[in-house]
Structure formats: C-alpha cells, structure tokens
Symmetry: C5
Subunit: 321 residues, 5 copies
C-alpha cells in the first residue's frame, strides 16, 4: 500500500470540499470570479474618478493649495482604522454564519445516519417481508427531506426529477401543494413511526428515541431558516458600504499629489481589495445559494443519499438471506 | 421550472428578513433614518462648534500659537485607537445580544412546531370528537403564548384584537389581570396536559416529553427577559459616549489649522459616523422593540401562527375522514 | 390602548435593569461615581507629576535637550498599542464573566419557576389539606435558597429578617450554624422530595425530574462560586496596572514640550480614561457585590420571590375551591 | 518521593503532546522545518525581486523620482493594517478548527473508555465463559473503529497490520470492500448489542445507554469529517495570499530608498514571517494529516488501545477467579 | 450584623482564589516573581546588547550613516503591529485554556457534591448499620479521585499521606501499581454501585443517574488531560518567541540614535514587558502545575474534601438517631 501525502494544496482542499477536480487557476477563477464580477463596477467607477481627480489636480495646479499633507492623511488614517475594524467585524459575523450553516448540515448528515440506522435495525426484526417496501419508502423519505430542505433554503421552485424518484406520485403531488414541504415530510415520518408503535413493532423507548431524531431534523431545519432569514443587521452592512464609498472618494485626493497617474492603478487595486472583502462577507453570510462560494449542498445531499442507499441494500440482502 | 437566482441584494435580504418588498433606497431610508434622527442633534452641535473653532482660529490668528502639530495629533491618535477598540467592543456586545435574541425566537419557532405537532399527533388517536374543540383551543394557546411574549418583551399594553381571537373571553380577562401573562398561558397548557394524563389520553412518557417542551418555552421566555432587562454594562456605554464627545471636541482644533471652513463638513461627517455606530449598538442591544432595526417579531409570530393554523386544519380534515 | 414607545434612553434601560426610576444625570453620577472615586487618587497623582515635569522642562530649559521627538513618540506609541490590546483583553474577560454571572442568575429564575411549578402541580393532586402548609414551607425554601445564595456570594453575614420569614425558627438556627447554607437548603428540599416519594405522592419519574432541577440549582450555585473565587489571572491585572503606571509616567515627558501647562489637564483626562477603563474591568469581573455597577441581585431575588408568592396564592385558592 | 518540577519548557510540552523525547532544537527543526520548506520558494523569489528593485533604484537614480515618501509609506501602512487583521482572522479560524479537532479526539478517548467499561461491566455478570471471546472481539472493535477513523481522516489506503490484528479475517475483508469502514464497524457493534439484548443479557436501559455511546461515536466521526471536508472559505485564503504577494511586491520599493542592499535581507525576513504565518494557518486548518504540526493521532490511538487492552486483561483475570 | 464591603482589592481577590492571606506586595512578589525569574536572562541579554549597540553607534559615529529614520521606524512599526496581534492571540488562547481548566474543576466540585449527596440519600434508607462503613469508604473514594486526578495532572509521584488516609492499605497498593489511578478509582465506584443494585438497595433509575455522574467524572478527567497534553500549537509559540527576539534585536538600532545610554534602560523595560507577556501565556496554558499562577488545585481539593466530610458526619448523625 502507499501512503498518500496529505497535501495542503487548494486543489486537494477544493476536492474534499465539493468533490470536483480542478487545478489552482480554475479554482481561483471560479471562486474569485463570482466576487470580482460584483466588484468590477466599483473598480471602474473609482478608476475613472481618480483619473478626474488627478486631471483636476494637474490642470488647476491644486497641488500647492491641497498641500494640507498631515491633515488629509490623518482623516484617511482615522477612517482607515475604523473601516478595518468594521470589515473584520463583518468578516467574522459572515464566517460565523457560514460555519454555523456548515455545522447544521454536518449534524444533518449524522442525524440522518442515526435515523436511517435506527429504522433499519430497530424495526427490522419484527417486520414481515410485506412491510419491507414500506420501510424502504420511509427511509427514502429521509433522503427526500434533505433534498426538500435544500430546495427550500435556496428558495427555488421544486425540481421534479430529484424528488419524484424518492416517493410515490400521490405524495409528490401533496408535497407540491404543501406550504412547507420539509415539515410535511417530517410529519409523514412521524406518522409512520406512530403506526409502527401501534402495530407493536417498536417499543415506547425506541419510538421516543426515533421521535427525538425527528425533532433534531426540525431543529436543524429551523437553524438553517434562521440563518437564511436573518442577515447580519442590514444597517451595519449599509453603514460599512457607505463608509467604504466615502473612504475611496477621499483617498485619491491624498494620493493624487504623490503619485500622479499611478493613482488610477492604486485606486483600482484598493477598491478591488476593499469592496472585495465586503462582497465576500455579503456572499458568505447566506451560504445556502448556488454561488461557487456557497456550501456544496448538492455534494452533501449526495453523501446522505449514498449512505441511505447502502443501508437499504444491506437491508434487502439480509431479508433475502 | 425556473431556478430563481439567489440574489445577494439588500432588497432580497430585507424581504427574507421582514417579509416586506422594498427597494434599496427605501430600505436605507427606513433603517438608517431611525439611526440618523437620533444622531442629528450631535451632528448639528459639532458643525456649529467647528464653525466657532475655525472662526476663533482665524480671528485671533491662533494658527501659529496652536501649531503644536505632532502633539495634538498624537493625543487624537491615542484616543482614536482606544475609541475604535471600545466601539468595536460595543458593536460586538450589541450584535451578540441581537443574535442571541434571534436564536431564542428561532428556538421558539422550533419548539412551538414540536409542541403543536406533539399535541396534535399524540392526543389525536384517543380523543373523542367532543374533545376536539378543547384541543384546538389549547393549540391556539401556543400561538397566544408567542403573542403575549411579544407584547411582554415590548413592554406594551395588551392589544385586544390579537389575543382575544386566540382564547375565550373569560381567559382573556384572567390574562388581562395577570401579573405575567406568558407564564399564565404556560400554566394553562401545563394543566391541560396534566388533565389529559389523568384521563389516560397520554402516557407518562408523552406527558414528560410535552412538559419538557413547556419548560423550553419558559427558558426561551427567561432568556429574552434577560436580554431585555440587562443591557451591556451601562457604565461602559456612558464611558464610550463621553469619550466620543471629548474626542469630537478636540478633533476640530487639529483640523481647523489644515482645512479652514472645510472642517465643518468633515466634522459633520465624522460625528455622523462615530455617533452613528454608537447609536446602532445602543439600538441593537435590545432587539425586541418596534424600531425598524429591531427583530421582526410580528413577522415571526405570523409564521408561528401560520404553522399552527395548518396543523389545526389538517387535524380537522383527519377527524372528518 | 396606547403603544409605549420603546425608548433607548439610559433612563429606561436603568429602570429595566434595577427597577429604579432615575434620570440620566443621577445614573451617570451613581454608576461612574463609584468608578471615579477609585480612580481619583491616580488622577491627582498624575496631575501633580505632570506639573513637576512641565516645571522641570521650563526651568532647566530641557525642551531642547529633550527634543528627541520621534524617539519618545515611538516608545509611547508602541506601549500605547500593547496597552490598548491588553485593556480590551481585560474588558472582554471582565464582560464575559459579568454576562456569565447574569446568565446563571437568569437560569436561576427559570429553574426556580420550573421547580416551584413542578412541586405545585405534581404533588398537588394527591395531597391532603394537612400537607398543604408543608408544601408551602418547601416552596418558600426555594425562595430562601436564592436569598442564601445571594448572601453567600456577597460573603456577608446572614441577614435575619430576609431569611427568617421564609422558614421555621429551628431551621433558621440550623442554617446559621451550617458551613454552607445554600447547600443545606438544597439538602432539605431533596429530603422533602424523597419523603413525598416514599409516601407515594409522586412517582419515580417526577421525583427524577424534580431532583434534576435541584441538581441544576447546585450547578448554578457552583458556577457563581467559580466566578467569585477565580478572578481573571491576577498576574495579568497586575501587569496591566503596572504598564498603565509606566505609560502615564512617560507620556508627560512627550507632552510637556508641546503643551506647557495644558499638559496637566491632558494628563488628568488621560489617567481618568485609562485607569477608569481598568477599574471598570476590575469591578465587573466580580459582579455579585453591592456596588452600583454590580448585578441587581436584590431585584432578581424580588422577582423570584414574587413568582413563588403568586404560585402559593393560586395554590391556596385551588384548595379552598 | 520527589515532586517533579512542572517545567514549562518546550521539551516537556512536546513530550506530553506526542510522547516523544526531543530537545528544543530538534523540535524547532521538526515543526518549523515543515513550514519553512513550503515558504522557502517565496523567500527566494522576494530576495531576488528586492535585488532587482535595489539595482534598478541605483542604476536609474530612481531615488529622487521615487521620493514620494509619505505616499508609498501610507499605502504600505494601509495594506499592512488590513493584512494583519486578515492574518489574525486566518490564524484564529485555523486554530479554532485545530482545537475543535482535538476536542473531538478527546471526546473519542472518553467515549471509548465509557463504552468499553460499559460492555465490560454490564454484560459481564450474565455472560458464560463461552461468550468471553466474542466480548473481547467486540471490545477490540472499538479500538479498530479509532484506527479506521484515523485512516479515513488521513484519506490513506488501509494499513493491513494495524487493523488485521483487531478482527477476524472475514471481517477485515468485508471492511476492505466497504465504502465507509468506520461506519461499518459501528454497525457491527450495534448488531452485537442488539443480539445481547435479544439474548436477555442486558436490559433495555443498558442497551439504550450503550447505543447512545455508539451515536456519540458517529457524531465524533461526523464532526471530524466536517473539519476535513470544509476548509476556511477558500476565497478568503486566496484573497489573503494575493494580498500578501502584492504587499511584498510594493514593500521593497519603499525600503530600497532607505536600506540599499540591506533591503534583500529585510525582505527575506519579512516574506519568511508573513508567508510563514499564512502557511501555519493553512497547515493547522486540517489537523488530521501526518505533518509534524498535525494532531498526534497515532499517539492518541495508542492511548485508547492501551486502555482497552487493560480492560480486557482485568476482564480475563476476573473470569479466571 | 455588619455588611462586609465587597472590596475589589487584590488582597481580597487573592484570598478568594487561594484561601491565603497576603498583602498586595506579597502577591505581586509571588505571582510576578515566578514570571520575572524566567524572563530575567532575556532582560540581561538585551541590556548588554543595547549597551554594545550604543557604544558602536558612538564610537563609529554611526549616527549619520544610520540616519535612515523613517525606514527603520517603519520596519519596527510593521513588526510591532504583527507582534501585538500574535501576543494577544497567544494571551487569548492561554486564557481560554486556563478558564476551561477552571470550569472543569468547577464541574468537578459540583459533580462530586451531587454524587456524594446521591450516594448518601439514595442508598441511605435501605442500608443496614453494617454497611455504613462501606458507604463511608466509597464516599471517601470520591475525595480520593480528586486527589489522584490532581497528582495525575501534575505528573508527580504519588504522595502517600494524602491518599492513604482515604482508602484501605490493599487498595492503596493496587492504586500504586495501576497505570491510571483516577480511572481505577472510578472503576471501583462503578463496581460498588453495581453491587448495591444487585443487592436491590437502589433501583435501576438511581443506578443510571449515579452511573451518569461517574461518566461525568471521566469526562472531566479527559478534558483536563486534553488541556495538559495539547499545548497551543507549539509552532506558533516558537514563531512568536523568534519574532520577539528579532524585534528586540532591531529595536535598539532605532533607539540608540535618539536616546544614547538611556536605550539600555528602555530596552530592559521593553524586553521585560514583551517577554513577560509571552511567559505568562506559556505559564497559563497549562494551569495544573504548582507555580503560583496555576490554578489552586490544593485549595479546591480541600473544599471538596470538606463537603464530603460534612456529608459523612451528617450521615453518621442520622444513623445514631
């Protein structure tokens, strides 16, 4: 056997993250492209603005009258300090939300594993061959819950193919009409467990344990909805954006005296960096979308689906023994 | 089907947050207006003060005698650093409280969902048609708890319409007289569960599980009361405000030499930024009010209400089957 | 009905916090007075010291020989940076402890509510009228636990009036002699529950649930004791204080050159700010005392007491039905 | 007896950490060598680049035309500030993940201890001598779970020797073919417990408790997978790296004027420090590899193995009594 | 009665912390002495080094050629910023570990209280006078667990006196030979509980509750071992130390020009401050030793011992009734 070196390259990290093979440049292009395309208008605006300022400074010989040196540098520094702090506050808040979202989906993986294994093992022993399809159907519902939750969090229309293969047609229609599909699926699973209990196929303890896992699913769903629905206080985001705009309006006045037309390049770089960081924060604070920087929900759903398929297979194998 | 692009615009975020449709400017006007109206007196004061300082500096030719350059700049920088740190401390503390408040209301959504589903499913099977109105009444009480808690946290007088439709007249009168309405409602729910247990309609396990959910409601209520009653240590807020006032009194002395009458504009901007951040912190540290920047408690209550109505309906549908 | 505007004034926040009505100036006087009185000696010392430095600088024409400009400014800036970081570290650590203390007392409110309601409802049904006084006595013991814990955390002598009305004379004497009164009360409550169980008045489940709440009381008590007994590592506090002292000894040397006798005023302000922040941290890190900036334990105890009194009353009302 | 002084030397800390004896220089060589080897290309590049810049500055007498002093210093300072903040953000995020990983492996130690003791004590009393090998086999499976999880997290091929001695040949082959070996082992343990329950060797309570511990194992596994699969948002890491590259491209332009050829040395040092901190963050954010700075998983696995071996021995001793 | 003023003096805080009476100077001497003695070699080295630099600067008239002013000041400032951030990171990490260690020992106090009370109350009623010594012996074992854990965490040889009085001679010999004494004691307590259950002296519920407390003890032990065994990533500590060394090597070059022989004093102060903060972090990150700045484990163990002694006494009193 060989020991694969655990590389720290982005290529490897990206593959672990999304399951896709890409080289470093493709990753940068994909991830940063999404950010840059949003920031580009600002960069263009400030490049043009700097050009005007430099022109003005040269034409009107403003250099001397603007030679307020320490004064404007001090203002710039003061705002700079506050701006850096607020950017970091924004970055931290966004990252916390991103990571909390990831934790919730991590719990989803664990909870579905435990729930599927619980249904598979606990109800297995007493079930007749006739009930096996019903059990399978309900195990598929766990998978369907994750898919429905994914769609719900993305606020998209329902995708037929993905969900239809996981349930009967009648149920799919019910789901389509329902106001809150993931909750509906949890309700069905709850009913199934209650029935099995009334049929004496699981005892009260096991029912409680499995119901607890359903409650966990609802809690995970609620946690994700909370992240989706409540952004970092919008008033802070507005404030930070305005401060950024003002800072970048003042900055060229200071730079023009020193750098002439280099100012344009410098301002392009600065606005790219500052608005870029702000944009990443705005992007990550809701990590459930389809942007390249969002969480790889499809990948996680596939993992869950694979786990459940394996359990269903090993379940069928045991019945045919 | 079409895949709605998950936009990162404020418009979309605001809609997720409050359920209202507004464009970017309306949002900024609404959210920042509430802050600015509080900060404006300070902005006005410091504009006037700067005007006086500049005037003084020009009339008395103070420029030369005040040309202490590095000295005053150093003081300003020292206070600036400390001020930035304290502002960020304040901002973090306020945001933590805001987010904790949001988490508690998120748990409230989950807990009421589980409680209502628990009552609906668990007591369903054994109940006679006669008891159905009583069950509905108690499910409505869960909704009433949220509304009463909202009013309690806002420290408002009771709003008749909202609560009266959720309970009988006699109970409403009792509630009106009660010292702590939300706790009263929890007490009623507890009594209802105990009765159902004595009537053998739920077993001891289920009673325990449901009682646990009631305790969770009390804990959520207690958590919100804690946030409401205990601000960030007031002595810090006082201290920060005073430091802000002093800083803005010293700053124009430095600026006047460099910028003449531009000082007024700069000071207006600076006081707007600094007092603005402080005001946002003051606003967010108690997120249960009716200000535009507070949590959308009405929106959350409506969500809860909708969930419970749906459960009651599907409950009625099952009984008529 | 009228909707009270949810004001963000300190007046309102202070009223929520302590239950007392005071205007803004009284609050500032009360809260900051406690800090300032501790800091004043330092302010006085550094004012005098600055006076001497300025005098020396003028008499001996030190200005020229001390014109080391950038050098001393750089030292001051370096220490300033480190000092700001350490002050913020101190502030955060103190605030975390303050807030953890508040959370524990918030849990105390919740736990006593649940415990009192549990005893009231669970044991109610089977109890004969004769036992009612015993039940009341034990519900009062919950109140007594909070009062005893308050006194314990304040490390004060026992206050007769407050505790005597909550228990029999013999018990009060036992408590007075006990090494750890709050633990003694928990022990009594545990014995009461065990007795009720042996008398078959509560079942094993309910006993367990109530015992769990007693354990929670012990955990809350232990958490508060931990905050009381373990300050932020004293070596940090010492270090910070010494750094402050050194910084304020160096600072006037730089300022004297620029500001002459204004240095005294500036140093008074600086030492007030820096030692003030340090003092607030020192004050808040143990929030269980009687200082105005400590947690309003009396107010919280009164809330708990009121909750329990109400439950006792509604209990009596039901018995007389 | 003697009281060993609890030394704070790195030697001692390293020994506690990995169980290996090394002196200070060996530790520095081992730990920092792994980092430096990654950073060296950057150091080389920037040394060369600085050399060119200095040459250019001298040949073309750029000194005068580049004497933009304050301007470029200001840019450098602005980026410096932002860079420091982002480096600290990165460092904190990486350290949090490292520490969370360590906590999970700490829980693994505790959980396996409790699980092994649970199986040993609970099933002991009722087991016949015949079952003893089966019990031992299952206790070894707990050990195998940890080894399989280690290999899984390192994304390595299976190591025969380590796992083969812990289970039968047939099971090892099954494991080799399985898609997710650690989950497979948990499944086997679950089946064993279920069997013991059906054979009436443990009661329902004990079954539940032990099953809960199995669920904990799955949660720990899931937590580690989450850390493995989701890096700190890659877009931040990319951004930080690019900012570092740009900063180090601009810096020599400022330094060249002041330091001449010393610039090369200074830049080598600066790039070593800055890229070094970035590299440590990149390294620690996935702490499950085989790099010297990763968690000592082999050491922890040996500890677990030792604990279980001891329990098996004391179990055998009791049976032979 | 008198109300003791809750003083904020270090004297009082130190007394609460360690139970010892010392005045402010003794505390500073004790706590800072331990740090300073480690830092002194560095202070001496840098004083000498500064002396050499100043000498060199004067002899060779380096002043002029070294007049690179802004350049070296900028380097110093850049490193200063990064250094401050890393020092604060180190400080925070160390303090978190210190505080987590304290929390674990706080939980130990609570858990042993609950465990001892549980054994005392639950098994009390059914026990015959003959069993009383056995119960006492096992309650003393709880105390012995804490002592053994303390010794284990300090990695010291066993102290005879402390442990021998808490158990029989045979057990002490077994413990002495055991590889992991605290785990051994937990094992004995588990066996005792299992025996009482088989003798029908406690029911299954109570057994579970008490076993859960034993598991908590193991978790606390595991948490402390984790803190002991895993330092803040050593590579960071190495990095920070090296950065400190480099910074202090560069600093005098800047200072020598300005301050002449005062540089020596300033450098002594600076190295004392910087290496001091680093040393405190190194000290606190493992808080289980015998240094004055470590947690007062002996004091906490005495508290636990006192609690258990009181319970044993009140237990004996009840039996003689």
């Amino acid at each position: 056997f060989k020991r694969r070196k655990f590389s720290r390259s982005w290529k490897r990290k990206f593959q672990n993250y999304t399951g896709e093979h890409k080289n470093g440049f493709q990753i940068a292009w994909l991830l940063q492209g999404a950010i840059t395309s949003q920031v580009l208008p600002w960069v263009a605006f400030y490049s043009g603005y700097s050009f005007l300022i430099v022109l003005l400074a040269q034409r009107l010989e403003l250099t001397s009258s603007f030679d307020v040196g320490g004064g404007i540098a001090h203002i710039v520094l003061s705002i700079n300090l506050l701006l850096s702090f607020l950017l970091i506050f924004r970055t931290n808040a966004a990252h916390d939300r991103y990571w909390e979202g990831r934790k919730l989906w991590g719990s989803l993986v664990n909870t579905t594993r435990n729930l599927a294994r619980g249904i598979s093992i606990t109800i297995d022993r007493e079930s007749s061959p006739i009930d096996s399809p019903i059990k399978e159907e309900n195990m598929k519902l766990i998978d369907a819950f994750c898919v429905a939750m994914k769609i719900h969090l993305r606020q998209e229309e329902f995708v037929e193919e993905e969900l239809m293969i996981l349930m009967s047609n009648s149920r799919y229609r019910q789901l389509y009409k329902s106001g809150h599909p993931p909750l509906k699926i949890v309700f069905w699973l709850g009913e199934y467990l209650q029935e099995q209990y009334l049929l004496n196929r699981i005892n009260l303890y096991q029912l409680n344990t499995l119901h607890k896992l359903l409650d966990d699913l609802v809690d995970i769903l609620g946690g994700c909805e909370r992240i989706l629905k409540t952004p970092t206080p919008i008033v802070y985001s507005l404030f930070l954006k305005q401060l950024l705009v003002i800072y970048c309006l003042i900055l060229p006045i200071e730079l023009a005296v020193h750098f002439n037309f280099w100012t344009i390049l410098i301002m392009a770089l600065f606005s790219l960096i500052l608005f870029g960081i702000e944009e990443i924060g705005s992007e990550l604070e809701n990590p459930f979308g389809r942007d390249p920087n969002d969480l790889p929900l499809d990948f996680i759903c596939n993992t869950i689906s694979g786990n459940i398929q394996e359990l269903i297979k090993s379940n069928q194998a045991r019945l045919t023994d």
